[in-house]
Amino acid sequence: MTILLLADHDGQTLGEATARAVSAARDMGGVIHVLVAGENVGSIARAAATVSGVDKVLVADDPALAHLLAEPVAELLVTLSVDYAAVIAPATSVGKDILPRVAARRDVMQVSDITRVIAADTFERPVYAGNAIETVQSTDELKVITIRSSAFDAAPQGGESAPVESVSLPAKEWKARFESEALTKSERPELTSARIVVSGGRGLGSAQAFETVLAPLAEHLHAAIGASRAAVDANYAPNDLQVGQTGKIVAPELYIAVGISGAIQHLAGMKDSKVIVAINKDPDAPIFQVADFGLVGDLFTIVPELVQALG
């Protein structure tokens, strides 16, 4: 089979989610072509070409593709899909936006957010906020699949560069128009690919505490900062930091939950982390049921002490 993988990028660099999706594609078996769509994306295409396991890169360079809007990218994928057995993408906000459009146009059912490849047509995916794992087989001739990044290791960079080929976007009138973008600037590692994540919950009590209590710990550990939905709802942290069923799904080496009680919707976003640490004043908080290491007490005392102790 030949698989077409839609690359995720921010206009500047290839997102790590793409290399993770390449691993899922390798598990499916067959030839892997990566589509890099966007405007002035030559360097991103070259980066995609050196991801191990990629056989060919298709690059579609067009102003209409600049912000990876659903209509043009889906149109391009629908056109290309006739030559492929599968169209896949990482389940990022881009992949989740675009791929169902492709599936509907091809009259097939998408398999969303897979966490494991059993066979080229059979996958595991979490449902009910990860409280159940479904094994699902697609009977469609064309498979349309989104990949949960945290469930797959990134395919390494390096080695032979795969050939890069240009493809063009069909000419059409696009209805939705891009107006503006406000992207969070951060020196910290990206939440979904960070090795360590430090997350704050309602227990932090304020946006200020995210800066004065959580940020020093994150900086010390070179960690990304996350937040529970409760903290986001209370405006302590922006929504793009939300970890959970309907936010980001993370599986870092180390996840430190600070002042987070551990609602199932939050656990859905982090319980596949390798090591979980919980710091909470309530010894009965459900977060302790999934934590490898815990510490009961006042986070406002414990976290600064922890920063000290880490030296």
Binding site: A70, Y128, I133, K175, T192, D240, T246, G294
Partner: protein
């Protein structure tokens, strides 16, 4: 946009799901999640969609809000709830069979064909199957523009301006009408229904029709081979103090 040239109609497709506060139990035979005797509710994102449509109507930006759902007779409960929130009427496409997102999108398309709404607002994701597909599929089938994961929606002349939650922050799109918008959590906070409104909703029109009358192929594209509980994590140990915790983390090799 002023009152006199308000949108004629907003259609809000909604889904009934296991209540988000209930803990799902996987059936012992691995055939699925056991919903018997469990509380079922309107999907939280769908509730946000209803709220947004009702607010637009209350601001004079839309004349009518119609809700539609797919499922067994019991789904009338959430349609009544949506009407208690302020929707004007409801449609139920009745079926006892499981409905995949593609079939749901096709069924909603039949409602769109009859209702000809200016805007369709729906939840970005149902918290049972966690698919996040139906809105995008509907937009594709209709060849309409879409804005998924909306955190703000402003109606302008013949268009809507939608701010979307994307991975790195926010993105704002302008969609000419008609259009499809899917809701994210921060779009609004749905209201609680007052008793008089619940009583009033009982008298609002609710059209029920069997799925067979819709002419949509309901055959499943996906076979669910099995459903299992996730691997359980064991509770670990609680450290007595920070130094002990740091020792644990060193021993685990994560710092």
């Amino acid at each position: 946009m002023t009152g006199h040239d308000a949108m004629k109609k907003i259609l809000v497709p909604i889904k009934m799901v296991l209540d988000a506060n209930m803990r799902p139990r996987v059936k012992a035979d691995g055939s699925g999640v056991d919903l018997s005797g469990m509380k079922l509710s309107i999907n939280p994102f769908c509730e946000i969609a209803v709220e947004e449509a009702v607010r637009l109507k209350e601001k004079g930006l839309a004349e009518e809000v119609v809700v539609v759902s797919i499922g067994p007779a019991k789904v009338q409960d959430i349609l009544r709830q949506a009407m208690a929130m302020g929707a004007d009427r409801a449609r139920l496409i009745e079926t006892d069979q499981p409905v995949e997102p593609l079939a749901a999108a096709k069924l909603i398309r039949t409602a769109v064909a009859e209702e000809t709404p200016d805007l369709v607002i729906l939840g970005k994701q149902a918290v049972d199957d966690d698919c996040n597909q139906t809105g995008q599929m509907l937009a594709a089938l209709l060849d309409w523009p879409q804005a998924t994961f909306a955190s703000a929606l402003h109606v302008e002349a013949d268009s809507v301006k939608v701010t979307r939650e994307v991975d790195g922050g926010h993105q704002t799109l302008v969609l000419p009408l008609p259009a499809v918008v899917t809701t994210d959590l921060r779009l609004n906070e749905p209201r609680h229904c007052a008793l008089p409104n619940i009583m009033k909703a009982r008298k609002k029109p609710l059209d029920v029709r069997p799925v067979a009358e819709c002419g949509v192929d309901m055959a499943a594209h996906l076979n669910v081979l099995s459903v299992r509980p996730p691997e359980a994590r064991k509770a670990g140990r609680c450290a007595a103090n920070v130094n002990e915790l740091v020792g644990d983390l060193h021993a685990a090799g994560v710092i």
